[in-house]
């Protein structure tokens, strides 16, 4: 705002407090996961544990299968979902971005309706369970997130504003088909918008637990988020994880509290590590979405 190069220290102080408030809950979960269980049970969840122990992580290592499987499910669903979704979204957006395409208006309206009105949870649930019969399959985790009207519109806007129509025309005069134009011209030119929207779709697939909550019973298909959800809300589920690990270690007491938080850390850790690198795109996506909203 001013030409003054130094920032007011008061502002730095307030912002530091804000940042601290955002980070400190993660710190609490981390310290509980590495605190000595006896101390946790005696003194409660502390920001500064006196004694450390990694026994909770050892427990989880003993029975890593569940967590690894959940990681696998999450990674598979996210990768397949993002790749398919980007293709479907961009192909639809490409068609709609063409000025001469007679269905542009109709498709815009078609998308608009999906953004204005929803049938509600029950009909939606019945479509997937009674009509598509995909409950308890990975398809139930993938299909619902594949297309979003918002993303199509953002991409269409990108295509119409950043890709000159003359480029497409000249390609087609040279004999390129629409498919060829889409694959060899549009896709390579739209990497920035693909990265931004791709990141958003990635985050929404990775963070999704709701479709699992509604559609998945089979423990083998639990995604990471849903496994975490079960561990938090269902004490006997947590106990069962601990029991299985317990049978193969010599520990006397089960560090249930630490195990719970260690599970959360195992899930948060990788995400927090990649976050600083993705942050730029994430911010870009947030503002793009808002401006178009």
């Amino acid at each position: 705002m001013s030409t003054n190069k130094r920032t007011n220290p008061l502002i730095i102080a307030v912002l530091s407090l804000f940042s601290l408030a955002c980070l400190i809950p993660f710190w609490l979960v981390l310290t509980v996961s590495i605190a000595d269980e006896k101390e946790v049970l005696k003194h409660g969840y502390s920001f500064w544990p006196q004694k450390f122990s990694f026994v909770a992580y050892q427990y989880l290592m003993q029975d890593a299968e569940k967590i690894l499987r959940a990681y696998g499910v999450s990674i598979f669903v996210t990768v397949v979902g993002v790749v398919v979704s980007l293709f479907v979204t961009s192909a639809m957006a490409f068609a709609m971005s063409r000025q001469d395409f007679p269905l542009r208006g109709a498709l815009s309206f078609y998308i608009l309706i999906t953004m204005l009105f929803s049938g509600g949870l029950l009909p939606w649930y019945l479509v997937y369970t009674r009509f598509l019969h995909v409950q308890d399959t990975l398809l139930a985790l993938i299909i619902p997130g594949l297309i979003g009207g918002f993303n199509v519109i953002i991409m269409r806007t990108f295509f119409t504003t950043s890709i000159p129509p003359s480029l497409i025309d000249s390609a087609q005069i040279d004999g390129a088909s629409e498919y060829r134009t889409y694959f060899s011209i549009i896709l390579p030119l739209s990497l920035p918008v693909m990265a931004t929207i791709g990141l958003f779709i990635t985050v929404s697939y990775w963070n999704d637990w709701f479709t699992s909550l509604v559609f998945i019973q089979n423990e083998k298909l639990f995604s990471l988020q849903y496994l975490l959800n079960k561990t938090l809300m269902n004490a006997s589920f947590l106990q069962s994880i601990a029991n299985k690990a317990y049978s193969s270690t010599a520990q006397v007491t089960q560090p249930l509290e630490s195990i719970r938080m260690a599970m959360a850390m195992i899930a948060i850790g990788p995400l927090v590590l990649v976050f600083p690198f993705l942050q730029k795109y994430f911010v870009k996506g947030l503002t793009v979405g808002a401006v178009k909203g």
Partner: protein, 320 residues
């Protein structure tokens, strides 16, 4: 020979003029759009056709089509139980509180972030304040539990106990949850909103501020007379959009942060959790479908009205 070619050309022109011929010419584009169209049909349109279920007594043994029509009975049940008013009140109350607090704090935060001159620090602050937006609600549930676990949680052990207050069994004490949920929601969403406002502030022409500084305007004056008026369109649009969604609660927040505790229902049951419970827990499809339809219809009317208002303010920012 030549006349044949001309005739053919004429024929192809008239063919492409008819709608069918025109669509045929664009078949490749239609094929490209088709997967998206189909997916939207399945995920959005089929459920819309399913709204008639709200007027049926759905039972799975007879099947969806053979289930009996019951007219408005489902709605009668919904409103007779008094549940409807409670969940509607909760949904609106929470959303209004979230909207007011988030908007004020986000603008404040955005203005502060804009004041940071050091690039590295600015990046750092931005990253940390949007980190909560990046993580799933399940993780938020864990974080809340870290503080509120009744036996070991930080709040009971390190705040209530040392202060000599009675520990609170948080997950069974509904009276505290309006505050807790508001704090959690702010924590999760204020950074996101701030970054959006920050983008708007960065877009403001620096010359306004330079002129103001020459005229001796204070920081406060610059903020109230330049920054806020110039980002007002963004504030208005975001607020109106939030009002359009006022009937839709954030299911994740109300489900995960409360750990779906039944004892908190008296203050935390919103339309979305109610519909979920009716469908997946108690299996009362009549309540689930009627409350769901109510939510959809009111939401639809709200968003149409909001769009009308937005159009009045600025046509380019209207949704449609």
């Amino acid at each position: 020979m030549a006349s044949v070619e001309v005739l053919e050309a004429k024929a192809s022109i008239t063919r492409s003029k008819t709608r069918k011929g025109k669509l045929w010419k664009y078949r490749s584009l239609i094929i490209l759009a088709l997967p998206g169209i189909l997916l939207m049909f399945i995920n959005n349109y089929l459920p819309m056709f399913g709204i008639f279920l709200a007027f049926k007594d759905l039972n799975y043994t007879d099947g969806i089509w053979a289930s009996k029509w019951v007219g408005l009975n489902n709605f009668k049940f919904l409103f007779a139980s008094n549940d409807a008013w409670v969940i509607i009140r909760h949904t609106i109350f929470y959303n209004v509180a979230f909207l007011i607090i988030n908007t004020i704090l986000a603008i404040l935060l955005a203005i502060l972030l804009n004041e940071v001159k050091n690039k590295f620090m600015s990046k750092f602050f931005q990253s940390t304040v949007i980190l909560p937006n990046f993580i799933s609600m399940v993780i938020v549930g864990y974080l809340v539990y870290g503080f509120l676990n009744p036996d070991l949680g930080f709040v009971n052990k390190f705040i209530m106990e040392p202060m000599g207050w009675e520990p609170v069994n948080w997950y069974a004490a509904p009276e505290h949850w309006p505050y807790i949920l508001t704090i959690v929601n702010t924590w999760k969403n204020v950074g996101y909103a701030a970054v959006v406002y920050l983008a708007a502030i960065i877009g403001i022409d620096q010359e306004y501020y330079e002129a103001a500084v020459i005229d001796g305007a204070s920081r406060w004056k610059q903020m109230t007379k330049i920054t806020i008026p110039l980002i007002a369109p963004v504030i208005i649009i975001l607020t109106l959009l939030a009002i359009g969604r006022i009937f839709n609660a954030d299911f994740g927040l109300f489900y995960q942060a409360t750990m779906a505790s039944g004892m908190l229902k008296s203050t935390t049951d919103v339309i979305d959790t109610y519909v979920y419970n009716a469908l997946m827990v108690t299996g009362d499809t009549g309540l689930a479908s009627s409350a769901g339809l109510l939510q959809s219809v009111v939401g639809f009317v709200l968003i149409l009205s909001v769009n009308l208002i937005v159009r009045k303010f600025s046509k380019e920012n209207a949704l449609f």
